[in-house]
């Protein structure tokens, strides 16, 4: 079942002063395909949760239309929409047992008791809740509550499953385990899913595609590979992972290459964003692992190691380059082979075309 948002906009008014308006979601357009898992990612206040709540029906869009399975659902209240939500706080009914919680939606649909018991048992087995049916929610661990919330959502066989930062209340270990589990269940049932989070690692691991938002506006929609390797803009490049930005200018451009002036030399790169023109100021995005360091080989830049931190598997460096304003971050993934540098060492650094991506200067 697909979900489509066209020109979705949400304006909130200040509670005390209704002349003040906040555009929390600004003209969002996205189509989520059948069986796909899409993550809305962004810093807090970027409008991702509001967008999710508009899909679930808890908020009404100020403008735009929401389609679920081809049908416009703008006028359908939350309780009549065939979507199920997994809440950040789990929202387990504290006065009902695990079984009653999971069967709540089915009871409302007036299914027979036998049918409800069957469905509930089936989902509890899949979710690893087999013997917990008669427990009170207060007797469950955080991870178990999370499973109950997921089971309660899935058992209704929704057209779309919505996750509102479902793992933010779990500790780090459990979070890793649960996000794999959520992905497994989602694939098993093939449910179209939308997942809201501010944790980029979580987004990278669970999603088919990621929609990155900032201040209510879509910054980029793409696969985890696309948003990391080919970010559309400065925000995405700096929000996903760590990046070095090297300012430059376009000398010339063809369909598949751009020629840039770097340190007075001409360099050709073939990964770049659309709409670039000659003479544009641009930034070359180089991930820390894409930098090459050498004490002897002459490369694009020369710098001095300001800090060197040994993390066991990797070596992390901060390098001061005279021509660049920002400190360059570099990671060596095999320091034993690549050699250790120390604070104060003079060093040459560079990058090849494959490790770069060119974006517009903000």
């Amino acid at each position: 079942m697909s979900v489509k948002l066209t020109n979705i906009t949400k304006i909130f008014k200040d509670q005390d002063d209704s002349t003040k308006e906040f555009k929390v979601v600004d003209d969002v357009n996205i189509k989520i395909y059948d069986g796909e898992m899409v993550t809305f990612l962004g810093p807090s206040g970027c409008g991702k949760t509001t967008t999710l709540r508009m899909i679930s029906g808890f908020e009404t869009p100020t403008a735009g239309k929401i389609y679920i399975d081809g049908e416009c659902v703008n006028d359908i209240p939350a309780n009549k929409r065939n979507s199920s939500m997994v809440f950040q706080s789990y929202a387990i009914f504290p006065h009902l047992t695990v079984k009653e919680n999971i069967g709540f939606g089915l009871t409302l649909k007036k299914y027979s008791k036998v049918k409800i018991a069957e469905s509930v048992k089936e989902i509890m087995d899949i979710m690893g809740l087999a013997n917990l049916g008669n427990r009170q929610p207060s007797q469950l661990s955080g991870g178990q509550q999370q499973r109950v919330a997921l089971a309660r959502a899935i058992v209704n066989n929704p057209k779309v499953l919505l996750f509102d930062e479902p793992l933010s209340n779990l500790d780090a270990k459990l979070r890793e385990k649960m996000r794999i589990e959520i992905r497994r269940i989602q694939k098993k049932f093939g449910i179209t899913s939308i997942y809201v989070t501010h944790d980029q690692v979580e987004a990278m691991t669970v999603s088919d595609r990621i929609m990155i938002m900032d201040k209510g506006v879509i910054m980029q929609i793409g696969t985890p590979f696309e948003v990391y390797s080919n970010p559309d803009n400065y925000f995405v490049a700096s929000f996903i992972g760590r990046a070095n930005f090297i300012p430059s200018k376009i000398i010339s451009k063809t369909d598949s290459t751009v020629e840039l002036n770097v340190q007075g030399t001409k360099q050709i790169y073939n990964s770049f964003v659309e709409n670039l023109n000659e003479n544009d100021d641009v930034l070359i995005v180089v991930r820390p692992e894409g930098l090459e360091l050498s004490s002897s080989k002459k490369m694009l830049f020369e710098g001095i190691i300001k800090s060197a931190v040994y993390l066991g598997a990797t070596m992390e460096y901060e390098i001061q380059v005279d021509e660049l304003e920002d400190v360059i971050i570099a990671v060596s993934y095999n320091p034993k082979k690549e050699g250790f540098f120390e604070e104060g060492d003079k060093i040459n650094l560079g990058f090849d075309s494959k490790s770069t991506h060119v974006i517009k200067t903000n």
Partner: protein, 570 residues
């Protein structure tokens, strides 16, 4: 004026709310409920009050100040106004002082016998408000146990200022105690420990840390007690006497004795103004200034904040106050069994026999009225709490403010309003069971609302959203999710409303009839005709019924929901 908050919203907000209100059409049950509630609030709270104001400012069908000129041209009523305010202020300050002393001794000084003092403070709350007055006559009056028997005074006169003040302080200090107990509990003792650590001595710490932090709570308590004292009818009716006129009593006499509705309404209106002002100052200003110190860490105190000597002094004072309370309520019990109070101390059951012969009907009536009105007002309170906390619609603020108004308006004014409003068509209700029920329901919904609002604040809204998400409409969500979660608060509200309905007099005295009478009114008339024993027996039975009901509700709560109602807990 905050009263009209709901009406003076600006246009944008109105449009916004209007949109949300339109959405409610899709939920006809909810929409209907809201409309019904707004209509009933208009009819049963605002309309009677408006009626009092209209009649007060009207003479021969025209707008006029004549009623006020007539009433306050008379020195006696000017005196009544001054007396009411003076007694109100003194009760407020002395009552709050004692309440604070109690709360500080128990919460901070940790004197022994916390449970005992809690019970002592609960007794006046669950008793009819004029029992204090009755007992004071029995102890300090002409034939009083203390005045006549112990001190051998031949002509003691407790009527008037002294007696009334004593009665009101005893009756209302527990209200202050409960408020300030909450305030002191919410002030983290680590703050005092920190002050001590910084080198403050105990007195400085109390003056510079504890007291300033408690000031908003104290101010709030003073205002609440002022409102309670002004609204009090039972104590002044019994104790004020004719030489010390009190506004609420004079308004009552003007209406029921002189049948002068205009003058009575004018007095009621004058009573209304300070009460409502004090209430709104408390609710919308002082209560917002409360300091709450939340650290999330356990707040164990070093417990050295009160010196041993100070603790002993506080303990002694608390014991004295407790003794006075016990003396007062004990004398009621003794009076119920004594052949003739002050003359013949032989024990007898004749007063109880008399009560069951004469007053059995009123006992049944009281139970019927409280039994029907309490659950309705409890459910309505929860419903209104739910609507104002969780839903958006035009009139949300209106519902909130108006339904809390009954807290502010003295019972006497409400009573006068009801007889003015419902004495002719289309709402001819005088003398019926219905008028008593409606009055009780709408007078005690604020309790339910407050409890409900507090509980809803603790229920994560996403729990209700989850139910909605799973296909429940708002009706089902309220019934299956919210209401069950509100049950403990509901029962607490229920107990309070029940106690208040059983002990109410100020508004009810206008509304009772030959067919439907209340025990409190009966007790009052026994006191007036000098049958102290019968009045005591009546009171004892009333308090026993209340205690049994509280016990039943608390047992249900304990067995089914593993919680206790808040009135008796701690």
């Amino acid at each position: 004026m905050p009263l009209f908050n709901g009406v003076t919203m600006n246009v944008r907000e109105l449009k916004n709310n209007f949109k949300s209100t339109l959405l409610l059409r899709k939920d006809p049950v909810l929409f209907g409920t809201i409309i019904l509630i707004i209509i009933s609030l208009f009819l049963f709270i605002l309309f009677p009050l408006a009626k009092v104001c209209i009649i007060a400012f009207q003479k021969d069908g025209k707008f006029s100040f004549l009623n006020f000129q007539e009433a306050f041209g008379f020195w006696y009523y000017r005196q009544a106004f001054v007396n009411s305010i003076v007694v109100g202020l003194l009760t407020a300050f002395i009552g709050t002082f004692i309440g604070f002393l109690f709360a500080y001794s128990i919460i901070r000084a940790k004197i022994p016998g916390k449970k005992f003092f809690n019970i002592i403070a609960t007794i006046p709350i669950v008793s009819p408000p004029f029992i204090g007055a009755l007992a004071i006559i029995m102890l300090f009056g002409r034939n009083g146990f203390v005045s006549s028997f112990l001190l051998k005074m031949s002509n003691a006169n407790i009527y008037g200022f002294k007696g009334l003040l004593l009665a009101q302080v005893i009756t209302f200090f527990p209200v202050s105690y409960i408020t300030l107990r909450g305030v002191l509990e919410s002030i983290s003792p680590t703050l005092e420990d920190a002050a001590m650590d910084l080198g403050g001595n105990r007195f400085t710490i109390f003056m510079r840390v504890t007291l300033p932090l408690a000031i908003p709570g104290i101010a709030s308590s003073i205002l609440v007690l002022f409102v309670e004292s002004l609204a009090d009818f039972g104590n002044p009716m019994i104790l004020a006497g004719s030489e010390f006129p009190i506004l609420s009593v004079q308004a009552f006499l003007e209406i029921t004795g002189m049948y002068n509705l205009g003058k009575g309404s004018a007095l009621a209106f004058v009573l209304l103004i300070p009460s409502v002002s004090a209430y709104f100052i408390q609710k919308y200003w002082v209560s917002k200034k409360q300091y709450i110190t939340i650290t999330g860490k356990p707040t164990a105190s070093s417990n050295k904040i009160v010196s041993n000597r100070a603790r002993n002094i506080l303990f002694a004072i608390c014991i004295l106050i407790a003794a006075l309370v016990l003396l007062i309520y004990g004398s009621i019990i003794y009076g119920a069994f004594a052949m003739s109070w002050g003359n013949d101390a032989t024990l007898t059951l004749k007063h109880f026999k008399y009560v069951f012969e004469v007053g059995f009907d009123s006992l049944i009536d009281t139970l019927i009225i409280a039994g029907i009105s309490t659950p309705i007002s409890g459910i309505l309170g929860m419903l209104i709490a739910f609507l104002i906390v969780r839903k958006k619609f035009i009139g949300r603020k209106f519902i909130g403010v108006v339904s809390m108004l009954s807290f502010a308006v003295p019972g006497t004014v409400i009573g006068i309003g009801y007889i003015l409003a419902f004495n002719n068509s289309p709402f001819y209700l005088t003398g019926t069971l219905l008028i008593l029920l409606i009055n009780f329901i709408f007078r005690y919904i604020p309790v339910g609302i407050q409890g409900g609002v507090a509980v809803l604040g603790q229920i994560d809204p996403s729990i209700e959203e989850a139910a909605e998400d799973l296909g429940a409409d708002s009706n089902t969500t309220f019934r299956r999710i919210t209401l069950p979660l509100m049950v403990p608060a509901f029962f607490s509200g229920l107990i309070y409303a029940f106690v208040r309905s059983m002990t109410a007099i100020s508004a009810a005295i206008f509304l009772v009839s030959a067919n439907w009478n209340l025990m409190t009114v009966q007790i009052m008339s026994q006191v007036e005709s000098g049958r102290i024993g019968a009045a005591s027996a009546f009171s004892v039975i009333l308090v026993i019924i209340i205690l049994i009901s509280m016990l039943i509700i608390n047992t249900i709560l304990k067995l089914k929901y593993h919680t206790k109602s808040s009135l008796l807990s701690n």
